[in-house]
C-alpha cells in the first residue's frame, strides 16, 4: 500500500476556513489527508504548534490565512509570514523545512483550497513519511527538533520576530531605517546560535560534559561551544560542575 501522508492544517477563521467550507459547498473533491485546526487569524499560529506537530511525527503542516492586504485583523497575516519564516529557517537546519507550507486562500477560493491541499498531499507523499513517524522515530533528529522547540519559545528569537517589522519597515527616532539584509544576517546568526545553545542544554541535561565532549558530540567548533557556554552561564542556564583532570565539566541548572 502506498504511503498516506498525515497532515495538519491551521486555517484562519475568516478567509481560508471559509474557503475550505466553500470547497465543500461547491463539492470540490480533494484527498482526506489533512486535519484542520481552526484559529481566528493565521498570526495566531505560534511556531511552537508547528514544531509540536512535527515532533509527534505528523508528515506535514499547512498554515493558511487571508491574502496579504485582505486580513480580517488588518495585518495579522504579515506577522504570520514572519513567524512562519522563522520556523522554516530553524527547520532548514535539520532538513524538515519542506514539510511545512504557508499559503493564502480567500473565502471565495474553494477551488484553490482544494488544489493546494491536493498538491501538498502529493508533495509530501513524494517526500515520504516523516523520519519522526512510526514505531521507531529517529532519536537524534527528535533531539534536534526538541532544541528547535525550545528555541522558538526563547524570548530572544521571539523578540526579534516580534520587532522585525518595526525594525525593518519603520524609521527610528533618528530617521534611520535598519536595512532588511542586515537584519536578516543578524537574524540568521541568532537562529544558528539559539539552535546550538539549546542543543547544548539538552545534551547537558543527560550528563555533565566538557567543552570538548560537547564539540565532538554536536559537531560544533570548540571555540563556538565555549562562547555558547558563556552566554548560557550569563543566562543562569548552565554552571561549572566538577573538574576532572583539569577540565571543567558543565551542568544545567
Amino acid at each position: 500500500m502506498s504511503f498516506e501522508p498525515k497532515l495538519l492544517g491551521f486555517l484562519c477563521n475568516w478567509c481560508s476556513y471559509a474557503g475550505a467550507d466553500l470547497a465543500g459547498v461547491s463539492r470540490i473533491q480533494y484527498p482526506p489527508n489533512m486535519r484542520v485546526i481552526r484559529v481566528m487569524c493565521s498570526g495566531r499560529v505560534d511556531p511552537k504548534f508547528i514544531i509540536k506537530a512535527l515532533e509527534l511525527g505528523i508528515d506535514g503542516v499547512y498554515v493558511m490565512g487571508c491574502h496579504i492586504g485582505d486580513c480580517h485583523y488588518l495585518e495579522g497575516n504579515y506577522e504570520a509570514v514572519k513567524k512562519f519564516d522563522m520556523t522554516k529557517k530553524f527547520l532548514k537546519i535539520i532538513g524538515l523545512d519542506d514539510r511545512i507550507r504557508l499559503d493564502w486562500v480567500s473565502a471565495s477560493e474553494g477551488q484553490r483550497f482544494g488544489e493546494l491541499v491536493s498538491k501538498f498531499v502529493e508533495d509530501i507523499r513524494a517526500l515520504g513519511p516523516s523520519p519522526l513517524s512510526g514505531e521507531k522515530p529517529n532519536q537524534d533528529l527528535l533531539n534536534k527538533l526538541k532544541a528547535i522547540q525550545m528555541s522558538v519559545s526563547n524570548n530572544r528569537i521571539r523578540a526579534l520576530v516580534g520587532r522585525q517589522r518595526v525594525i525593518t519597515e519603520q524609521e527610528n527616532v533618528y530617521g534611520e531605517k535598519y536595512p532588511e539584509d542586515k537584519f536578516n544576517n543578524l537574524f540568521d546568526q541568532a537562529i544558528k546560535d539559539e539552535y546550538e545553545r539549546h542543543r547544548i542544554l539538552i545534551s547537558l541535561k543527560m550528563d555533565s560534559k566538557s567543552v570538548k565532549d560537547l564539540a565532538k558530540e554536536l559537531n560544533i567548533d570548540p571555540s563556538i561551544v565555549l562562547e555558547h557556554i558563556l552566554s548560557l552561564k550569563g543566562r543562569n542556564q548552565v554552571d561549572f560542575g566538577e573538574i576532572i583532570k583539569n577540565t571543567p565539566m558543565f551542568i544545567t541548572l
Binding site: K6, W14, G24, V39, C41, K52, G76, R163
Partner: protein, 561 residues
C-alpha cells in the same frame, strides 16, 4: 454563579453527531462515529441525530445536559461559521456557559469533499471528533463584556448612502452627526444630470434630500470637514473632526462609513483628451449645460476595468451608458450611437427595459473582445466584430469612455484610524460578504454605499438604510455585551511579563497599553481576539481565551499523539 465552579467539577462531555439528512450520514457511518466518540476520554454521553440543529435535535442536547449533568458539549456537523451561534444559544438556555461548546466540521470540510473516498472521510471524521473532544475538555467558561452605549451616531460621507443612513437614524430619534469633506452634501450626485431609472433630475433629487435633512432637529451636518482621529470602542468612540482649521471633539456610539468612491483618471486610455474623447461623467456635466449636437457618438464600455489591473466590474457603467445614450437620442433622434461592449449588465426588469428601449431606438451594440480591444483613430474607431469576423470602422465626433468608479485615495488613512480592513482594490472590506454585509469586523462600525463597492443610487439608499438599521441595534440599548474570547494577561502570568512592550506595538487595535503601575493592561472591549499578541509574546505570558496554547496543543496531541 454556578459557572465559576465549572473548573472544580469533573469534566463531562456530551457528543452529538449529526447525519444532516444524508449529507453526512450518506457517506459516513454516523452510528459508528457515535460509538467511537462515546469511548473517548471525558465523554459521558454520545448520540447521533438526523438533524442536530432541528427543534428535536436541540431538545436532545438540552435533555442530555440535564440527564447526564454535562458541562461540555461537542456537535459534529456542518460548519461553525453558520451554526455555532445556534448551538451556543442552545446550551446557554440549558444553563451552560456558551463558551463550553465546541464545533466539529464533518460536513463542509469532510463528507462533501471526500465523496469518492468514504473510508478516508470516516477516518478523518473520527480524528476530527477526537480533536474536538480534546479541545472541549480544556474549554473554560467566559463572560461576555458589558459596555455602556452612547446613543449618538456618526455618519462619514454625505453622499446618497450617507444621507440615507443619517436621515434614517435621526428619524429614529438618535442624535446624528453627518460629516462631509466637500462644501456641500450630495457627493457624486452633484455632477450627474438625470438618474436611472425614471429619469429624475439629480439636482431635484438632492434638493429633496437636503430639505429633509434641514428639517431634522436630531441631525447635525458638518461640511468641509475631515475625520482627524478616532479613539475608543463600540458605544464609546471619541472622534476629532476638523472643519475649516478648527478641531472639535465629539463622543458617539456607532460609526457608519459611507465615503463613496472616486473617478478613475482616464489619461492615456483610448486617446482620452477631455474634449472630443471624454468620460461618461464628463458627458453628464455636458448634458446638464447643453444639448449634444453631434452626428456620431461612440461609447466604449469597461475602459480600465475588468482587466488585469482592475479585476472588478464597476456595475454602474452599463446603465449609465444606456441612460445617456437614450437621453441623447431623445434630444436628437438623428444622431448615430454605437456602444462597444464586452458584456451588458442590466439586472432586473427596470434596467433590462432600458436595454430593450435602446435597441428599439436604433442604438447599435457591438461586442468586442478583451484580447482585441478597439483602436482609436482621429475620426473613427476600429473594432473587430466577432459575429461577422471582420474589422468595422465607425466614424465619431464624440467618443465617450465608460470608466469605473475606484476607491478613494484616502481610504487607507481612514481605515487605519477606524482599525478596519480594505481589500486589494482599496475599497473597504465588510466583515463577511453574506453573513455580515453591513458590518465591519470591528464592533460598532458599519458600512454602506460605494465605499465598499461601486453601487447605483437605489442600492446606495438600501445599503445606507441597512447600515443605519445595524447601527440602531446598538444605539437602542443602554448596554450591550461584546465577545468574551479576548486575549488576557492572567494574574498568575504577570510575573512572566518582561515589559518588552512588543504586544503593544503588534496589536492591530491598540487594545494593549501600560497602566499607571507600569503593567501591561489589555482593554478587553477593544480586543478582537485575533491572538497575534499571544503568538508573539516573548515570555508566553499572554493567554488567548478560547484558543489557548493548551487548547490548541490538546488538538495537535489528539491527532498526532
Amino acid at each position: 454563579m454556578s459557572e465559576n465552579k465549572e473548573k472544580d467539577r469533573k469534566i463531562k462531555i456530551g457528543v452529538f453527531i449529526c447525519h444532516c439528512g444524508s449529507n453526512i450520514g450518506g457517506l459516513i457511518d454516523c452510528k459508528k462515529i457515535t460509538e467511537y466518540a462515546g469511548k473517548l476520554p471525558n465523554v459521558i454521553h454520545s448520540e447521533d441525530n438526523l438533524y442536530t440543529c432541528s427543534e428535536t435535535g436541540l431538545s436532545c442536547i438540552k435533555n442530555a445536559i440535564k440527564e447526564y449533568d454535562l458541562n461540555r458539549v461537542v456537535v459534529a456537523s456542518c460548519t461553525p461559521r453558520t451554526h455555532e451561534p445556534l448551538f451556543r444559544e442552545c446550551i446557554s438556555e440549558a444553563g451552560l456557559n456558551q463558551y463550553l461548546f465546541n464545533f466539529v466540521n464533518i460536513r463542509d470540510q469532510c463528507s462533501w469533499v471526500h465523496m469518492k473516498d468514504p473510508e478516508g472521510a470516516y477516518d478523518k471524521a473520527m480524528d476530527l471528533v477526537k480533536m474536538g473532544v480534546a479541545k472541549a475538555a480544556k474549554l473554560e467558561p467566559l463572560d461576555c463584556i458589558k459596555v455602556n452605549i452612547n446613543p449618538t451616531a456618526l455618519v462619514i460621507g454625505g453622499g446618497v448612502a450617507g444621507m440615507s443612513a443619517a436621515l434614517n437614524l435621526s428619524n429614529q430619534g438618535f442624535k446624528t452627526y453627518l460629516v462631509e469633506k466637500e462644501d456641500k452634501l450630495g457627493g457624486r450626485l452633484n455632477s450627474l444630470y438625470k438618474l436611472f431609472p425614471y429619469s429624475i433630475k439629480a439636482s431635484e433629487f438632492i434638493e429633496n434630500f437636503i430639505k429633509k435633512i434641514k428639517n431634522n432637529r436630531n441631525l447635525n451636518v458638518l461640511t468641509s470637514s475631515k475625520i482627524k482621529n478616532v479613539d475608543g470602542f463600540v458605544g464609546n468612540f471619541k472622534v476629532e473632526i476638523e472643519q475649516n482649521g478648527n478641531v472639535q471633539k465629539i463622543e458617539i456610539g456607532t460609526i457608519i462609513v459611507a465615503v463613496g468612491s472616486s473617478l478613475l483618471n482616464p489619461k492615456g486610455l483610448f486617446g482620452y483628451d477631455g474634449i472630443k474623447r471624454i468620460t461618461q461623467y464628463e458627458l453628464e456635466t455636458l448634458l446638464i449645460k447643453e444639448k449634444v449636437t453631434k452626428k456620431n457618438v461612440v461609447m466604449i464600455q469597461c475602459v480600465g476595468s475588468r482587466n488585469e489591473k482592475r479585476l472588478y466590474c464597476s456595475s454602474v457603467c452599463c446603465m449609465t451608458a444606456l441612460k445617456n445614450a437614450l437621453i441623447i437620442k431623445e434630444q436628437n433622434p438623428n444622431v448615430n450611437i454605437t456602444i462597444l461592449f464586452r458584456d451588458i449588465y442590466t439586472p432586473g426588469t427596470e434596467y433590462e427595459e432600458y436595454y430593450d428601449r435602446a435597441r428599439k431606438e436604433g442604438i447599435i451594440f457591438i461586442k468586442y473582445d478583451v484580447e482585441r480591444i478597439p483602436t482609436i483613430e482621429e475620426n473613427q474607431v476600429v473594432v473587430f466584430n466577432e459575429y461577422i469576423n471582420k474589422e468595422v470602422l465607425i466614424p465619431y465626433d464624440l467618443l465617450v469612455l465608460s470608466t469605473p468608479l475606484v476607491a478613494n485615495e484616502d481610504n487607507k488613512e481612514l481605515a487605519q484610524m477606524l482599525k478596519v480592513p480594505t481589500e486589494a482594490n482599496n475599497f473597504f472590506l465588510e466583515a463577511h460578504v453574506k453573513l455580515r454585509p453591513s458590518d465591519f469586523a470591528t464592533d460598532g462600525i458599519f458600512i454602506g454605499g460605494s465605499a465598499k463597492w461601486p453601487v447605483d443610487i437605489s442600492e446606495a439608499i438600501t445599503q445606507g438604510y441597512s447600515a443605519a438599521a445595524r447601527a440602531s441595534t446598538i444605539l437602542s440599548h443602554a448596554t450591550i455585551e461584546v465577545e468574551g474570547a479576548t486575549s488576557n494577561l492572567p494574574e498568575y502570568n504577570k510575573s512572566l511579563c518582561s515589559g518588552c512592550e512588543i504586544c503593544i506595538k503588534i496589536c492591530p487595535y491598540n487594545a494593549i497599553r501600560k497602566n499607571k503601575d507600569d503593567e501591561i493592561e489589555i482593554i478587553e472591549a477593544l480586543c478582537k481576539g485575533c491572538g497575534l499578541c499571544g503568538a508573539t509574546c516573548t515570555r508566553n505570558a499572554i493567554v488567548i481565551r478560547h484558543f489557548t496554547d493548551e487548547q490548541i496543543i490538546s488538538e495537535i496531541l489528539a491527532f498526532g499523539g
